[in-house]
């Protein structure tokens, strides 16, 4: 059974334009899905639909087999949700906030306290645990929100821009925690992010969304194939040398390969031809390449 599934999920706020159109996706248990797209693409709408905060105009979805429309409270019991718009209580301290949300999730008092302390320490909030959350910096508040989403030990985690507004150290701490949860604890993660480099490190599947429509979906290799991004061979030759069939990129000559297996043959050929090969490398496409190629293609008028 998929941890998260959506079939033809559509949402229109005004009945005229769709904020999300016919989204179909599935994330297996323990999987980490990177949900990527520019602002206004429909990422937050998707998270709200999957967590029962919004009702879809059409289509259906499930989280661990539970319907967010019919039984949102059961969905919330098994998932932790962190969105930018879900705020913490400013009058309550960080610790009080966590203990309150643990109570709403029926976590026994002793377990709640232990878990809250563990999360506060892990997210570097221990020293400010007794300070009203209203006095926290943006980054602290963001980390407290993440701690809140984790307080009841969820099996599925929906994270909408968990590192926006965080300094590099905090962002790294948050990213490490997410990676640890996904890796060791087997938590399924649905991650909306703009941090493409980081997403590539921890996600195993992706959906690239634009104007409410999924442009690409699948694992990284299938994304590369769909976007037409291939591995390139890069060669640095001696001064003044040229390489027919290759494109010049600074000091390097580059050409696309059908597969990485072509590289040894290519090098043998170049050396056989007596060329002075100073350096050679495989240039694999990154998620950024795929992402920008995807949007570049769409900008070209039909």
């Amino acid at each position: 059974m998929d941890a998260i599934a959506a079939l033809g999920l559509t949402k229109s706020y005004d009945g005229k334009t769709n904020a999300l159109s016919e989204l179909t996706l599935s994330v297996p248990r323990g999987g980490v899905c990177g949900f990527l797209g520019p602002n206004g693409a429909g990422k937050t709408t998707t998270v709200k639909l999957l967590t029962g905060l919004l009702r879809p105009t059409s289509g259906e979805s499930s989280v661990l087999g539970l319907s967010p429309v019919r039984e949102p409270e059961k969905v919330h019991a098994v998932c932790g949700v962190m969105t930018e718009t879900a705020k913490m209580y400013g009058q309550m301290t960080g610790l009080q906030n966590l203990l309150f949300f643990a109570q709403t999730a029926d976590v026994p008092a002793q377990t709640a306290r232990e878990r809250a302390e563990q999360l506060l320490k892990r997210l570097d909030l221990w020293d400010v645990r007794d300070k009203p959350a209203g006095k926290y910096s943006t980054g602290m508040m963001q980390r407290l929100s993440l701690a809140r989403a984790l307080i009841h030990n969820p099996q599925v985690l929906f994270l909408d821009e968990p590192t926006s507004g965080l300094d590099p150290e905090s962002a790294q701490a948050v990213n490490e925690l997410i990676a640890m949860l996904a890796g060791k604890n087997g938590v399924t993660v649905f991650l909306c992010t703009h941090q493409l480099r980081y997403a590539q490190d921890i996600c195993d599947t992706y959906v690239i969304l634009s104007r409410g429509q999924a442009l690409l979906r699948g694992d990284f290799d299938s994304l590369c194939a769909s976007a037409g991004c291939r591995t390139k061979a890069g060669v640095r030759l001696g001064e003044g040398e040229t390489l027919p069939g290759f494109e010049r990129n600074g000091a390097w000559w580059e050409a696309e390969l059908s597969s990485e297996d072509e590289m040894p043959e290519l090098l043998k050929r170049l050396i056989g031809e007596g060329r002075s090969v100073y350096e050679a490398r495989l240039i694999r496409p990154t998620l950024e390449d795929v992402y920008f190629s995807c949007f570049r293609d769409r900008e070209v008028p039909a």
Binding site: T51, G52, L53, L54, R55, P72, E73, K74, H76, A77, V81, T83, T85, A86, K87, M88, Y89, G90, Q91, M92, F100, F101, Q103, T104, A105, D106, R148, H152
Partner: protein
Amino acid sequence: MKLFSEGENRRKWLTPGERAVMQKDFNEIWKVRMVRNTLILVPALLVVILPVVYLLMIWFVPPERMNGVEQMMKLVPPDLRGYFSARQSLFYLMENVVCPMFFLMIPLMVSTVTAACSFVGEKERGTIETLLLTPLRVRSLFKAKVFGCALVSLIVTGISFFAFLVVVGIGDLLLKMPFFLNWNWIVMLLVVSPSLTLFGVIFMVLVSGRSKSYMESMQLSGYVVLPLVLLMIGQFTGLFQLDALILLAIGAGVFVLDFILGGISARSFTPEKLMK
């Protein structure tokens, strides 16, 4: 065995999560200075300060030197006119015509202020979404919040009544009058004020769907006090006199209204509408 079943019932009445929300609301309501001031100052003004000032006035100023006393005397029931002196009659009018309306403003104002803080304030601060993401059913949230606000209002109303009892009791002793508590007051305390408490909370839940800020909702809540003001004017002009039966009918009517509006507001209490 009996204790166990009582415990079971209590658990069904309010779940730990619902109790947590109620407790959180109590703390929040108390921490907002404006709300706290309303909970303390409004009742103090209506049932302590104004009656004390009035008592001092009729105690120290001879009735013949006051304007409009004759006009006011007409409001005293005919069978009591010969029984009370002018000073006693003035105090009787305060106890039975002026103060009841002041007293009824307390549950109404306290419930609207607490509900504004609990419902609209939560929306304004962006915490309603976080609350909706908890494993509590939306109905449970609604129940916990309505109960919490109503409980605060009932407690404040109860304390206010006790304070009023003391102030007016002293007045009755000083003026050698019979103790003021009559059927009108009993109906007001036990029927009308709880019905108004519920009305204030439910009205604010309905308003919360439309207003985006606490201040905006408080402005709208001014309208709910209007019927009480009209009742007071009606009594003063001699248009009608409220007796226990009429008050009972009013209380029952408001309860019916609460029931209908409560159903409507519970249906409109959905995540989508709350996050608009």
